[in-house]
Symmetry: C2
Subunit: 519 residues, 2 copies
């Protein structure tokens, strides 16, 4: 630990200047901070109802079981006392064992990226935001919608780094399909680790990829193996293949990270009416069962390894089967998942999701409802916090900027309201009297510069001024902002020797053929 | 009371058919219902802090006083023991008297319009929605922004009547400036009382107008004077002229309604940094003082008359001075106002407000944040719930439709989540197993038609289908919907004799010159 701290200290000045850049002149943004959500969570269920869903989930694990499509994981679970179907993949676990293992996962943990000033806290009342992750397409107002490529991938990484309200450089903000899949993770991580200095992520999509990414994260932070493993430096997110299944690569990747002390978010893909029961209560029950099953495995692999559970429970449009997000059902499912996560003492992930096809008003209200769900559920990690459109099939440059505006507003919302005698301001009210105006008074003059949040994207001017300036709507204002950010972007500092080491790692692994692909 | 009930019963069948029309084929909308908000309110302040704001407000009332620019009101308050400045307009009242009078106002009350099926409950956990009120301008995508006229006024009344999620026909949804001010209230109320059958509103803008409106509401509902006065039939909303002032016509109108047992919402216009202290705590303190002062007066006029307090506390853009809405500060101010309203046992009004100049994504997130504030504050009456743009300077046809979509979603959100054993669905999970899909299973088939809210405006289709259909964004979809609604609109039924009585009242009052004007 001491060594890790030392090397962290060495890099601190670089970190600080990167942070200054992030808060630089392009737009007036809030400084880097980890928001703390002080609101009491909204709890739609009574304690008895929470207990009933727990009981349902335990019955699923005890009586029905989960498919673990990974031999090694089944061996580990069998050794820990689970019942594995003879010659099959079904694993049943009893509730005492589940609760004992889940209890080992910490309720709160940190992840420290190469710039230790961008260390994050996950759990408790902390709330952190992750860029949009994994869409195959991206779009902007100038070029329209297109399949993702490396240039767009890099653009969206730059926005991820630039905005202080984005705390993690999560999954690929768009899939760069112009890079061959065998080496894509190498180029992508090289870009991510040089263009950003925030907490990185590894896809659990094959052993070689996971090992390569861990190695690159270690190199980029200038860490020894021991330092890397001493504390979380990165994370993965795995999805169950709902209903009731964990696939090979997801389990393999999560176990590899766990062995090296790195956290996993387990996110069941429980769309009610499709891969989960049509009722909110049933979908959440299945979410709990699938999520805990993987967390039990990881606690068997490495007791105490940090884990979080991810809520992705929403409903589908029963006419078309397409998933919907930011719906009333999504909000309640997220809040109930929050109650369940607190019941198990696990940090909770959710998303800033929408189903809209363009960054219009529908996208904004669906996203606002998703964020409302996250805040009222006490969510700790908001995935896809900026840039997501089309239920995750498209990353929008303009939506990224719009979302950062609303995230900043939430961060200000979460700051405590001050209620001192000076704030109550009876003397100011007396001084101004019935015929005055508060703008000029001393009480206002002392506070007006910091009293209110000042947005960088919202236009609060009156209609006449707005029209005179061309009646520019929000997506077009966002368009101008991302262009300016990309034009002025400077990568965070990185030691030249480290960059070279990363480069030669990438070159060597490319020469070796990268990772195997299915096609 | 018995007579009122009888006459209500007589009109019930008409009411029911009007309701059917409202839920008719144009769009699939939710049936008429009064939403009940079961969420525990978000309370940013501790009990001690609530007490401190109460104490501040009491000091304002005791030490500084409020200007009552209405002789009669001062006489009434003086008689009730308040200290009125000699030859002046300042009224100071001590906290014992304030609390005693405020306690007389009921925590919950009903208002019964001419169609008793559209009776509403105000207070408790009920939440009702009012159309946008009082903008001088209106806009739609075809004709752009324009000064309000009678045709637009009637259009927006039809939308108010059509949507079941709009519970009150509040202030004029746009000001019809093509009608001379002396007779505008006569034509406007005639239109409102014939095109809608929901709870009507009177502007407190002069004695003659208020008396005319009460008389027209009485006639439209076929009530005797006694029946009209037996229970609330309509309401007014008055704004203080912040800081610390209640103007003549507002006080006069509210007192006239109170004498006939009709409710008043008192809404101080406390924009922090302009008409109120720059701090949220100070602005709310002033809101409490100004609001309670008028409620005390009305309780002196008619003890027990229903009153509500209206929160309009927001911040101004300190660069331009223009008001902002749906901001983080607005959200907290609304929640704190909710704490104060519960402290005094008064129903609370707030708004669905935004500062955006067009129905784009900014308008949607600001409105969503305002609605979030309303739900989390435990607000009972949401003014401007549909159609508001530009901080209230414009009524947008498209925004009206967009807002009704989000209001419907909130109404579904507020319905309790069912957590029976059947909902937890362990048997359905068992039946579907790890390789199945839930769509076909019995559990889903029994529930899928009603399981999820089905939006009338959101487009959840995939990008390809959406593009094929012309890539129509949300405001343009809303545009098609309001046109269809207006084309198919049928006014709610009204007895022909009553309509004639209303018409001749309007004609007579026009012959008499209507109401005096200042110009």
């Amino acid at each position: 630990m001491a060594t890790a701290k030392d090397s962290a200290r060495r890099r601190r000045s670089g970190g600080r200047s990167a942070n200054r850049r992030g808060a630089g002149p392009t737009i007036r943004q809030l400084p880097w901070q980890i928001p703390v959500n002080s609101d009491a969570p909204t709890e739609p269920l009574t304690e008895e109802q929470v207990q009933a869903i727990h009981d349902g989930a335990m019955r699923v694990l005890e009586e029905i079981g989960i498919e673990f499509l990974n031999d090694e994981s089944r061996d580990i679970l069998k050794a820990a006392g689970c019942e594995v179907s003879a010659g099959g993949t079904n694993v049943r676990m009893d509730r005492e064992m589940v609760m004992e293992k889940v209890k080992l996962a910490p309720a709160e943990f940190t992840i420290t990226p190469r710039n230790p000033e961008h260390r994050i806290n996950i759990g408790g009342r902390n709330m952190v935001f992750v860029n949009v992750s994994s869409p195959p397409n991206c779009s902007d107002l100038d070029r329209g919608r297109r399949v993702g490529d490396r240039e767009s991938y890099r653009d969206l990484l730059k926005l991820t780094q630039y905005f202080n309200c984005i705390h993690l450089a999560g999954g690929y903000p768009v899939e760069p399909v112009d890079i061959h899949a065998s080496v894509r993770h190498l180029d992508c991580l090289y870009d991510k680790l040089t263009l950003t200095d925030k907490v990185p992520h590894a896809y659990s999509l094959g052993s070689e990829r996971v090992e390569d990414v861990m190695e690159m994260v270690r190199i980029a932070a200038g860490l020894s193996d021991e330092e890397f493993e001493a504390t979380p430096r990165m994370y993965t997110n795995i999805n169950s293949s709902s209903p009731l299944k964990h696939d090979w690569p997801m389990l393999d990747g999560a176990m590899r990270l766990a062995r090296r002390g790195q956290p996993t978010i387990v996110t069941p893909f429980t769309l009610a009416g499709a891969m989960a029961p049509v009722t909110i209560a049933g979908a959440v029950t299945q979410f709990v069962a699938e999520g805990l099953a993987a967390i039990v495995l990881l606690q068997c692999v490495k007791p105490g390894v940090p884990c979080a559970i991810g809520s992705f429970t929403s409903n589908v449009d029963m006419r078309s089967g397409s998933p919907a997000f930011g719906t009333p059902e999504y909000m309640r499912a997220t809040q109930i998942s929050g109650q369940m996560a607190r019941f198990y003492g696990l940090p909770l992930r959710a998303s800033n999701a929408c189903a809209a096809n363009c960054p219009d008003s529908q996208s904004a209200w669906e996203s606002a409802f998703s964020l409302w769900a996250a805040v009222s559920a006490g969510v700790n990690v908001v995935y896809h916090a900026a840039g997501w459109l089309e239920g995750g099939l498209c990353a929008s440059y303009e939506k990224f900027v719009m979302d950062c505006e609303t995230l900043q507003q939430l961060m200000v919302y979460m700051q405590p309201v001050s209620v001192t005698e000076d704030d109550i301001a009876v003397e100011a009210i007396r001084e101004v009297g019935p015929n005055g105006h508060f703008f000029g008074c001393q009480h206002t003059q002392e506070r007006y510069e910091t009293a209110f949040y000042s947005p960088f994207l919202s236009d609060w001017s009156n209609f006449e001024s707005w029209e005179e300036r061309g009646a520019v709507d929000t997506p077009r204002r966002a368009n101008a902002i991302w262009k300016q950010i990309l034009a002025e972007f400077e990568a965070p500092p990185m030691d030249e020797a480290i960059r070279e080491e990363l480069e030669s790692f990438v070159e060597r692994r490319k020469r070796e053929g990268g990772a195997p692909t299915d096609f």
